[in-house]
Amino acid sequence: MPPSPERRFNSRLGLILFAVYLVLYLGFVLTNALQPSAMETIIVLGLNLAIVYGFALIVAAIFLALLYGLLCRKEIPNATANTDRPQEGASE
């Protein structure tokens, strides 16, 4: 049985939000690794980029998680069958 439209929507939403966070996280990690001196730059309220970006990543994680919870569609009970993985992939 194919996944319900609600589950497809939720999965796609999850992957989009994941991609958004991945970009933010990659930006942080790569800045630290390749341009570490940039993290010392004071950018707002006397705080440096390391503190602001670090806190922003934590706040973004919480915000995206809440957004996901808010936007996810309720799945109808008979569509909760085990359809996460397409059968054709099984090689048994």
Partner: protein, 642 residues
């Protein structure tokens, strides 16, 4: 440091332990079936499960390790906070709901849902055991560190005590009681950490000399004379002569005060100051001396002084008064704090002395990455160090969603929607806690209460600098933190043994009761292994050890799980190969790395075979590639020709 046990601490600690074990016995009566024992009948409310996620996840590594690393080196410890939380995004958006739909009791269930393959059960079961045992080590090390100041017992006694209590909890109860213990612990941990942070902000910063003496400025030519300020200078006998930066002055008790030569504040090259250091000597017969006197708290004995002070505040103020959440950082940014370095002096009589010395450091430097030796390379420009850093951050990102004790928690709620909601509650509470870690760590750095030889004790010692009651409560919560996480890990391991290996691989049909009994026997065995490893790895920072556990989890488990969900071409052989290659390569890499050579085997780090310490950046893609390659090979062999 020598800790004198306080009756308040002992009382609060025992009350926590008795309550926790009592709760386990009470709830354990309901967990006689395997569904109850491993998955709490899938009836845990999502909010409780979400906080229990925080309880499971905010382990000794988060509370003790991260705070300790921040207290000792500054911002670098916060990198772990960021990485640990980022991993939850993978868990929420990619893993949580499918995991709940696919599995029943264990990680292997989910991986094997479409195949019913003994090979997958074997690989996933062994991988669960390997990751759990690796993750158990830092928890046990943290437990030992906590017991010392609480009850005055040696480190190993703490490890054994935790092992026994946890085995009792797991054997008597199972997932129901583990979940409620985690819920309580998670709530208390976040609440009391917030209280500590409020007190840290209210207290602000105060300039101090940390109780340490400074001599000078004096002429550099006088430093090698027979006397300084009327005190005899000990001649630099064999071994000490290789460290001309240190000067030892005889004190009235028969020991010495040791000083490190530092630049004069007026930058006069002919003059210097002597800044007090501290020396811990281990004699060839194993006896310990501090500054030349027997280690102890008696009259003719000495112990290392607590550390952590600030020497300059902005605009020459001596006290900042209370600060806000932002001015906390801006004040520290323009201050000077004292971090501590150390160097080892070996003398001809076979004794080894570790000299701890002050390193006055700009506040701005502790608020940027790169002070910890592990991360220092990212600023020095070494390509290998940068790859090592990227590798660690990748492992933290990918590791959370692959940890067995986190994955099994998805089975304790009723459906995928509840799994999603509980993960959101988990992320919110864990994220809030990680914000607090930076304040806690930096607060501890300037608290004057830190133990030079044990960074893991930073948060409880910060509490002790405020009140004995807070110290007692925080220590007890930290101890319960260890209990909870270790319970979850042992439960995951025992599930892997009873359900995956014995039931799934050996094909032995066990009744519900027999399966639970086998799981309990496995819990005792895994607990015993954890005790031994906890004693062996005593010296290492728990957060660092957890970084390794994440690497193994991310390499062994995540590639198979992700590809199973997103690639139709995945075959059972691909999954088995991926799990095995990920696990063996990451474990092998860690065992052959410079850190393990130096800190575990005591060998020369330069001889290490692995080019850098963190394996994730190589072993995670390797596991993905293995899965794709083996799946393509086995799939084409099984697909009939047109």
């Amino acid at each position: 440091m020598i800790y004198e046990p306080s009756w308040i601490a002992v009382f609060v600690f025992l009350a926590f332990v008795v309550f926790t074990v009592g709760l386990s016995f009470y709830l354990g009566r309901k967990a006689t079936s395997s569904q109850g024992y491993f998955a709490a009948h899938g009836q845990i409310p999502w909010f409780v499960n979400g906080i229990a996620f925080a309880g499971d996840y905010l382990s000794a590594a988060s509370f003790l390790g991260i705070c300790g690393m921040i207290a000792a080196y500054g911002y670098d410890g916060f990198l772990y906070s960021i990485g640990y939380l980022a991993g939850w995004i993978v868990a929420l958006f990619v893993i949580a709901e499918p995991m709940k739909r696919l599995g029943r009791f264990t990680f292997a269930d989910a991986l094997d849902a479409q195949f019913n393959s003994r090979g997958i059960k074997l690989a996933a079961g062994v991988s669960t055991l390997a990751v759990s045992v690796f993750y158990l080590i830092p928890q046990m090390v943290g437990a030992g560190s906590l017991i010392q100041p609480l009850l005055g017992f040696p480190h190993w006694v703490g490890v054994v005590l935790v092992g026994i209590v946890v085995i009792t909890i797991v054997v008597t109860a199972g997932m129901v009681s583990t979940t409620w213990v985690q819920f309580l612990k998670g709530s208390l941990l976040v609440l009391f950490s917030a209280i500590l942070v409020i007190i840290v902000l209210d207290r602000g910063f105060t300039v101090s000399d940390g109780g340490l003496k400074t001599i000078g400025p004096i002429d550099r030519s006088d430093i090698r004379s027979a006397e300084i300020e009327g005190r005899t200078v000990l001649p630099p006998e064999a071994g000490w002569d290789k460290h001309p930066e240190f000067v030892r002055l005889v004190n009235s008790k028969g020991g010495f005060d040791i000083f490190r030569i530092a630049a004069s504040p007026d930058n006069d090259p002919d003059r210097a100051i002597l800044a007090q250091a501290q020396a811990m000597t281990v004699l060839s017969d194993g006896r310990k001396l501090v500054d030349g006197l027997p280690f102890g708290a008696g009259e003719a004995e000495r112990q290392l002084m607590p550390i952590g002070h600030i020497t300059k505040l902005p605009d020459g103020y001596a006290d900042s008064k209370s600060v806000g959440p932002i001015s906390f950082f801006t004040t520290l940014q323009d201050s000077e704090v004292v971090l501590w370095g150390n160097t080892v002096v070996r003398t001809d009589d076979g004794s080894t002395t570790k000299v701890f010395y002050q390193k006055p450091t700009d506040g701005s430097h502790v608020l940027r990455p790169g002070e910890h030796p592990t991360f220092a390379g990212i600023r020095s420009g070494g390509a290998k160090d940068r790859v090592n850093f990227l590798s660690l951050m990748l492992a933290l990102f990918c590791g959370t969603a692959s940890l067995p004790h986190i994955l099994i928690r998805y089975y304790t709620v009723k459906d995928a929607s509840a799994a999603r909601k509980s993960t959101i509650v988990g992320i919110t509470s864990i994220g809030f806690f990680y914000v607090l870690t930076l304040y806690l760590g930096l607060g501890a750095m300037t608290s004057g209460a830190l133990d030079l030889t044990d960074t893991n004790m930073a948060a409880p010692l910060l509490a002790r600098s405020m009140s004995q009651w807070l110290f007692a409560i925080i220590s007890a919560i930290a101890f319960t933190t260890v209990l909870g996480t270790v319970s979850g890990l042992i439960l995951a391991s025992s599930g892997a043994v009873a359900h995956d290996l014995i039931g799934g691989v050996m094909g032995i049909e066990l009744t519900e009761h027999a399966q639970v009994r086998v799981a309990k026997i496995a819990a005792v065995a895994v607990g015993a292994i954890a005790i031994l490893l906890g004693i062996a790895f005593k010296e290492m920072n728990v957060s660092y050890l957890v970084g390794w556990a994440f690497s193994v989890a991310a390499s062994a488990n995540l590639p198979a799980l992700v590809m199973l969900l997103f690639w139709k071409g995945t075959t059972k052989q691909g999954i088995i190969a991926s799990v095995i290659v990920g696990m063996v390569s990451s474990l092998g890499w860690i065992l052959l790395s410079a850190d393990t050579y130096q800190k575990v085997y005591g060998w020369d780090a330069a001889d290490a075979i692995a080019p850098f310490s963190q394996p994730g950046i190589v072993t995670i893609p390797l596991a993905f590639a293995t899965l794709v390659l083996v799946s393509l090979m086995t799939r084409s062999a099984q697909t009939p020709s047109p």
